[in-house]
């Protein structure tokens, strides 16, 4: 199905682009013959690349039919102007609205492989944070290439977007997008640079109280938005925090992700034992933040700006911070 396996460059770093072009020309000259043979034996020209998780995968030269197995990837693809190449996404891909119109392949954890096969994708994009290893294995065995996408910090997210653009042949769009995102981030950082950092508790789930660990977007975003996460010394990705410990750490601000399944009245917390004793609850310093804060997609920067507005309200906005 795929062409011959010839060794090419490692496309792991996005700022090696100039080295790439030279190397590519050189190698193509050497490998023209096997390349032609590869053309004859397979339907599409292919190249061996290293995906964002370090796996080596054989992907088509110009992938036209893309399937996304994670909402963040779907968002990114649309943001890169690749929306029309997306032929399938998961049941939970809702942003942008056009994503909802695409054929569905099932839930994130257990996508229906038959549907994926039936959509005849050139390339499937997935993420180890969202998808199971078993899905990746099975796609591999079916001969469908899977490109892994991963990021744990804001910087990595930007690199990931650029890499996707490069791999999918939309490099200029990617670069433009990333530059504008960086500008917005720097604007926020500059604004909050001189302000004192409030202590922030990010509540992923409140029963039991679960928050974000050090190596997550949330902690990174809070940091850049001029705050300090009180849970960044805890171990694990989504560590549980006891209420007493949360009380002891005395956060200034509490943030909740906004989602359909979770939008309690903040006033309820003023009645809950433990919560009602927290200074942040008493002072009503509780805010909802877009759930894009947990997605390695361009909207992460929207979330960043929201957090910055919550922690450091721009002059003149005063009490308009609630909800």
């Amino acid at each position: 199905m795929m062409g011959g396996r010839f060794q090419l460059f490692n496309s792991s770093s996005c700022d090696a682009s100039h080295r790439r072009s030279f190397r590519r020309t050189l190698l193509l000259t050497f490998l023209l013959v096997p390349g032609l043979l590869g053309l004859l034996s397979g339907p599409l020209p292919a190249r061996m690349v290293e995906d964002q998780t370090g796996r080596r995968v054989n992907i088509p030269e110009h992938p036209q039919r893309l399937i996304s197995l994670a909402p963040s990837i779907t968002e990114t693809l649309f943001a890169l102007g690749l929306g029309d190449r997306v032929v399938g996404d998961t049941d939970y891909c809702e942003y942008p609205p056009e994503a909802k119109l695409k054929p569905r392949v099932g839930p994130i954890l257990n996508p229906n492989l038959e549907k994926i096969v039936a959509l005849k994708p050139d390339l499937v994009l997935g993420s180890p944070e969202a998808n199971r290893r078993e899905t990746a294995d099975r796609l591999e065995r079916l001969g469908i290439p899977l490109y892994g996408v991963t990021a744990h910090t804001v910087d990595e997210t930007l690199h990931s977007i650029e890499d996707l653009g490069r791999v999918l042949g939309h490099e200029p769009e990617a670069r433009k997008l990333v530059i504008s995102l960086r500008q917005r981030i720097e604007a926020v950082e500059k604004r909050v640079a001189s302000r004192p950092r409030p202590k922030v508790l990010f509540v992923v789930w409140y029963r039991p109280l679960t928050t974000a660990g050090p190596n997550t977007f949330i902690t990174d975003v809070i940091q850049r938005a001029g705050g300090t996460s009180i849970s960044q010394d805890l171990r694990g990705e989504w560590p549980r925090l006891s209420l007493e410990e949360a009380l002891r750490r005395d956060p200034d601000v509490i943030l909740f992700p906004r989602s359909e399944s979770f939008s309690p009245e903040l006033e309820e917390f003023q009645r809950l034992p433990g919560w009602r004793d927290m200074r942040a609850v008493k002072d009503r310093q509780m805010f909802f933040i877009s759930d894009a804060i947990i997605r390695p997609s361009p909207r992460l920067v929207d979330a960043l700006e929201e957090v910055a507005r919550a922690l450091h309200p721009p002059q003149g906005e005063g009490e308009e911070r609630r909800k």
Binding site: D91, R104, V105, G106, P107, L109, N110, P111, N112, L113, E114, K115, V117, A118, K120, P128, E129, R132, R133, E134, D137, R138, R141, L142, G143, G236, E237, W238
Partner: protein
């Protein structure tokens, strides 16, 4: 209707059920997340190059899964029957002696230690199953022999201890891994490699055949250990062999598919209702019956909430519990 256990009847039943199994398996090929017309199913099965999607779907997705369901269903059906005879208890199931907990713990530890090495999981699970099997055997011996009640005690205690350890280790895993494990703990037939099938097939075949050699001894064992000894049965040898073979079958099944519940408990019951307690007919009936039941359950799991999928353990539980209650009431009444 009870069938006299003669060589002829056992053979006839085996053939009939085998044909039934093949029919069910072929039928199951028609179902899945994507609707394939009959012609394409056939082309896919033949592997014709002009129908690559159908081939991928039929040969790459549906067929391995159906084969796995057959092997696991047979393994669990037979080991459930054998353990019920060994423990002289119709309520025994293949997991009562802790094998599935041991396998689960093996897989979870591998996940925790090795990170993302999912390929090692079946091997680690099987190692866990073997270790548990050895441990319970040593614990359950009395005067150098397996005594069924100490065996059950040893197994139950081990199983609950292991479950506690599993819960503990689960809190140490990241949430992402926990989600993956949940599928596995419930029984999931979607994760199968050709290599696994190639290993599983001879093991299940040999295990089931070897147990069949003890079929007439198992009949006698049902009378009680002393009575069996008085009838000339080498009780120690039969019990040990039955225990080892049943545990081996359970161990390989659980290692590749997780702990699919109710099958090992109910298939022997249904088999007994159909053909009686003579293991010379009951064992093949349980093997083939278990295979048929699991293929059907898995087909339901794949189609009921399409395009999503249920783990097959959910289907066997939802269907199994009412069947079990019905059987209980029938025997009590």
């Amino acid at each position: 209707m009870k069938v006299a256990a003669t060589r002829r009847n056992a053979l006839a039943l085996t053939i009939i059920l085998f044909v039934g199994l093949v029919a069910v398996a072929l039928g199951a090929l028609l179902f899945g997340g994507v609707h394939l017309p009959l012609g394409e199913v056939w082309e896919g099965l033949r592997g014709s190059a002009s129908y690559p999607q159908a081939t991928s779907i039929i040969r790459g997705i549906r067929l391995p899964r159906i084969l796995l369901a057959m092997l696991v269903g047979a393994a669990l059906g037979v080991s459930g029957t054998a353990l019920q005879a060994l423990l002289r208890n119709p309520l025994a199931d293949p997991y009562v002696l802790g094998i599935s907990s041991g396998a689960a713990l093996g897989a979870i530890i591998a996940l925790w230690v090795g990170g993302r090495v999912a390929a090692a999981s079946p091997a680690a699970a099987f190692a866990g199953a073997l270790a548990t099997m050895a441990w319970v055997y040593l614990l359950g011996r009395r005067a150098g022999r397996l005594a069924s009640y100490t065996l059950v005690l040893a197994g139950v205690v081990t199983a609950s201890f292991l479950s506690a350890v599993i819960l503990f280790v689960l809190t140490l895993l990241s949430t992402r891994d926990v989600r993956g494990i949940a599928f596995w703990l419930m029984g999931d037939l979607s994760v199968v490699t050709d290599a696994q099938l190639r290993v599983l097939f001879p093991i299940v075949l040999l295990g089931v055949s070897a147990l069949y050699l003890f079929a007439k001894d198992l009949n006698i064992l049902l009378l009680g250990e002393e009575e069996a000894a008085h009838l000339g049965v080498n009780v120690a040898r039969v019990e040990t062999a039955t225990y080892l073979l049943a545990s081996l079958l359970t161990g390989v099944a659980v290692s590749v598919s997780g702990a699919i519940g109710y099958l090992g408990l109910l298939v022997p019951h249904l088999g007994r209702m159909a053909v009686g307690t003579d293991h010379r007919t009951l064992l093949p009936v349980s093997a083939l019956g278990g295979a048929i039941v699991l293929v059907v359950s898995d087909t339901l799991a794949r189609t009921v909430v399409a395009p999503g999928e249920l783990p097959v353990g959910a289907v066997t539980a939802v269907a199994g519990a009412p069947v079990f209650i019905y059987l209980l009431r029938r025997t009590a009444g």
